[in-house]
Amino acid sequence: MAEPALTRIADRPSTQLSAALAAALVVVAVGHQFVLGSFLVLVGLLAGISLSGSV
């Protein structure tokens, strides 16, 4: 009877809260990487465009 046991655990508010917190952490971590990555590309992009006078 593993399935009802798992269902009971999944139905607990503490389990759902933990899952929500873990998901939020993943979103923040990915978002941080995404923001940092975007900034890194933008630093290079702006620097590259600044050299347009040397075309």
Partner: protein
């Protein structure tokens, strides 16, 4: 350079040139960033405070040279990329020209701008994929004005460039430096 006036070359050829040039630039920027990342690795035993102090002082000195109109004193290879790169066909030439142009170290440097991403790479010892992102962005930024040149036609481009090149160089290098500083704060 790529000879692209609006009426000079048919659209498909200009598109091929633009694509080859862009890919070359992005690749060139990425390779240059990879080299900088390797150098940064060798610098990693240096305490971060000392490294930041030295590289930031050098960058600020380069900014002073730029604002004083002495970009000729910036470290650079002060000659043009040879036209021989086009000897093996115009599209292949555009790729090779783009690659050398995208490294940012193969021809004249008219602004302090390329030293900003270099400062970022050497100071922070970023992870390799992050360094490559900076390089790819730099290459794409290098290609963008030339792509606009191909799209707009040379006469309109030259008029716009003469009027705005200095403003673009100053705004671009300052905003790039501010953003790089913010990235450093996020990273450290």
């Amino acid at each position: 350079m790529l000879g692209g006036s609006r009426s000079g070359r048919p659209w498909p050829e200009r598109a091929r040139l633009a694509a080859a040039f862009t890919v070359g630039n992005v690749l060139g920027g990425t390779v240059a960033a990879a080299v900088a990342a390797v150098v940064a690795g060798f610098l990693s035993p240096v305490p971060i405070g000392l490294l930041l102090a030295v590289t930031t002082t050098v960058l600020l000195a380069f900014f002073v040279l730029d604002f004083a109109g002495r970009t000729d004193l910036l470290p650079q290879r002060a000659r043009q990329i040879p036209q021989e790169v086009f000897h093996h066909g115009i599209v292949r030439g555009a790729f090779r020209f783009g690659f050398e142009y995208g490294t940012g170290s193969r021809t004249h440097i008219t602004s302090v701008a390329p030293f900003v991403p270099l400062w970022l790479l050497l100071s922070l010892n970023l992870e390799v994929h992050m360094a490559l992102m900076v390089g790819a962005g730099f290459g794409a930024g290098r290609a963008l004005p030339v792509i606009a040149h191909l799209g707009l036609g040379s006469s309109q481009w030259d008029t716009n460039t003469d009027r705005q090149a200095r403003m673009v160089a100053v705004l671009g290098s300052v905003s790039s430096a501010v953003l790089a500083g913010y990235v450093a704060v996020l990273w450290l």
